[in-house]
């Protein structure tokens, strides 16, 4: 078990490193000179003076080779310092500290909703295979999955305002305020098809197993058969979807925070993109990637707890 976790960790570290290097190189070679960018974004009266630019570059250490600068950045990031914003000059850390909790709270709650509701609906659909209930659940999930959140979000607002004369749910007032309800539902329901599909397939696979038939034959009540014998093997394929789920939720939160006026990482991303604020964009990409990779790591680690056979098979495949 310990060896398994260790082997996962050993794979995780170079992945994060390669990702960082790629994105840093992209910005470094692609976007060009940060000093020039600062000048271009400064208010109009600042003249672009090559000599002055050279002096600033010298002072900031920006004429050193790429790898040296990357090493520097890496060292700072490892110590938790993402540098300063090109636009406002504020430290990126403080911007992220303000925004991250909002996205994390909503995102995590959304993921919990999807997982619980999705497993329940998926199991119900599987138990009623090809009946009306199954078709309704699967069709509903597919339609919601098909409509992008930046379409469904505004449409819900339109319906709420025009149809029910409700106020627009806009802004952030803590996780437990009613303002969060609509964005939470949109974020949580959209990727539910991922979970429902896996849970349903898992149930169909398990239903024909001998031990389920035995349990039924022994006269164990149906509910108990479902909870004890069917649910547990269903959890493994569902957990394997969590990486995808996290990516979907992060992508969706970038798209939807603008719609509902949530001051989270998504909105920070949007403003940073519009003003080409690279230190901020770099930091957000990093944080998002680390979140996704860490959740993949947790999924990998949780496999042997859910199903020791699956873990044994995975390690075997690699060797």
């Amino acid at each position: 078990m310990r060896r398994y976790i260790l082997s996962r960790l050993i794979r995780w570290i170079p992945s994060v490193f390669v990702l960082l290097l790629t994105i840093y190189a992209l910005v470094f070679f692609g976007a060009g000179d940060p000093i020039k960018l600062i000048f271009l974004q400064a208010p109009g009266d600042v003249a672009y003076d090559p000599a002055r630019v050279e002096a600033i570059r010298e002072a900031a250490g920006l004429n050193r080779p790429f790898l040296v600068q990357f090493g520097d950045y890496l060292a700072n990031v490892v110590q938790g310092d993402f540098g300063n914003s090109l636009v406002s000059g504020r430290s990126v850390n403080s911007m992220i500290q303000a925004a991250l909790p909002v996205t994390l709270q909503i995102g995590l709650s959304a993921i919990c909703i999807v997982s619980l509701l999705g497993i329940a609906l998926g199991v119900i659909a599987g138990l009623n295979q090809n009946k009306l209930l199954d078709n309704v659940i699967v069709g509903f999930a597919m339609i919601i999955w098909g409509i992008p959140v930046f379409v469904s979000g505004p449409l819900i607002i339109v319906v709420l305002v025009l149809g029910f004369n409700q106020d627009v749910p806009y802004g952030w007032d803590g996780l437990f305020s009613p303002l969060v309800l609509v964005p939470l539902l949109v974020l949580g329901l959209n990727p539910m098809a991922l979970i429902i599909r896996q849970a349903r397939a898992g149930v169909l696979e398990v239903l024909s197993e001998d031990y389920v038939r035995t349990a039924r034959a022994k006269g164990i009540p149906n509910l108990q058969v479902v909870l004890r014998h069917i649910m547990r093997p269903v959890l493994t394929p569902v957990v394997s979807q969590i990486g995808l789920l996290v990516i979907a939720t992060l992508n969706n939160s970038i798209l939807i925070e603008k719609v509902f006026g949530l001051p989270g990482l998504g909105r920070l991303t949007e403003t940073a993109i519009k003003s080409s604020d690279y230190p901020v964009i770099l930091a957000i990409v990093l944080i998002f990637s680390v979140v996704v990779m860490t959740s993949n790591l947790l999924v990998d680690i949780s496999y042997p707890l859910l199903d020791p056979r699956a873990a044994a098979k995975r390690t075997e495949n690699e060797e």
Binding site: G30, A31, M142, I147, P148, I281
Partner: protein, 317 residues
């Protein structure tokens, strides 16, 4: 007579792979609906310029923000442009971007996936690692970073080229948008294709019928054509259908954020983002592109599911 009787069923069997799959697809009503909608989308995209009642850039400032009418079926936007025409041109944008993205990600995926599947061992382990990393990247953000960071240098390069050569081709930077959009999307989307192709190569390569054909001396191109492709094409077709839908959503997501295909070139994403500013007063500006995008993505997911059931019958067990 006897010869005919024998030949009949044999001929049937020759086309049975396609026929069989098509029969199963036709039995699935949702998949047929999806297929029809997707076909309509392709026709609209292909014949767009002949179908639009107005030019997508024509501004009629006397008829701004008009609700739907017989002159303007979907109304007009804040510059008096006909929304129906813009939605149709948005379909062109979506289809062009989706096809190029899927095409390039298939090429990258075919290259990397077949290297992994063919060589195996350490090469394969590296390929799998590369696939894993790329898949665990937050796709939307990375596409955005590529677009935002490379765009200025590419535009500068085009400008410099124009100054140098005076060639009109370098003056039109819309192509930069398109190339960056599907280039960056292909760079993020290839792992799924690579994973499918690698898996198919590995599973088909050691199947008994391939080994038997090899032993019988069938030539390699013939083995690939007769045995490998028919037995591995199913998941690839399903992938293409799903990926086309995903690419359209991704494209409109980031033109929604103001990256990617930029106004005045219509994309459903930037039309939705325009509509968001005025929906309280003119909900039709938002409704038309949003409905188009929703219908198309749902159509692709119905079609994809139907194809999956039709082409991978072994999944049923």
């Amino acid at each position: 007579m006897t010869e005919l009787a024998i030949q009949g069923p044999q001929e049937d069997r020759q086309i049975s792979l396609v026929q069989d799959a098509f029969a199963r697809l036709a039995a699935n009503k949702l998949a047929v609906l999806g297929m029809i909608l997707v076909a309509v989308l392709f026709i609209i995209a292909a014949f767009g310029p002949w179908l639009t009642p107005y030019d997508f850039l024509d501004q009629d400032l006397m008829a701004r923000n008009q609700p739907p009418s017989w002159n303007h079926w979907f109304g007009t936007d804040d510059l008096g442009r006909d929304i129906l025409s813009r939605v149709i041109y948005g379909a062109r944008t979506a289809v062009v971007v989706a096809f190029s993205t899927v095409f390039f990600s298939l090429i990258i995926g075919l290259f990397i996936g077949s290297i992994g599947g063919y060589f195996g061992g350490k090469v394969d382990a590296f390929v799998v690692w590369l696939i894993d990393i790329t898949m665990s990247v937050p796709s939307l953000l990375v596409v955005i970073v590529i677009n935002v960071s490379l765009k200025p240098s590419m535009v500068n390069w085009m400008d410099a080229k124009f100054m140098e050569t005076g060639n009109e081709f370098y003056r039109n930077t819309i192509w930069v948008d398109f190339i960056l959009v599907f280039g960056s999307m292909a760079l993020i989307k290839w792992p799924k294709a690579a994973r499918i192709i690698r898996g198919q190569i590995m599973s088909v390569r050691n199947k008994n019928y391939v080994l038997a054909a090899e032993a019988l001396g069938v030539s390699t191109p013939n083995i690939i054509r007769r045995y490998v492709i028919p037995n591995s094409i199913g998941p690839v077709i399903v992938y293409i259908s799903a990926a086309l839908g995903e690419a359209m959503v991704l494209e409109s997501s980031f033109s929604f954020l103001g990256v990617g295909v930029r106004p005045p070139i219509p994309s459903w994403g930037n039309m939705i983002s325009d509509g968001l500013r005025v929906w309280q007063l003119y909900p039709h500006v938002l409704a038309a592109p949003a409905a188009a995008l929703a219908v198309v993505t749902i159509a692709f997911s119905f079609l994809g599911d139907g194809l999956n059931d039709a082409l991978n019958p072994r999944q049923w067990k």
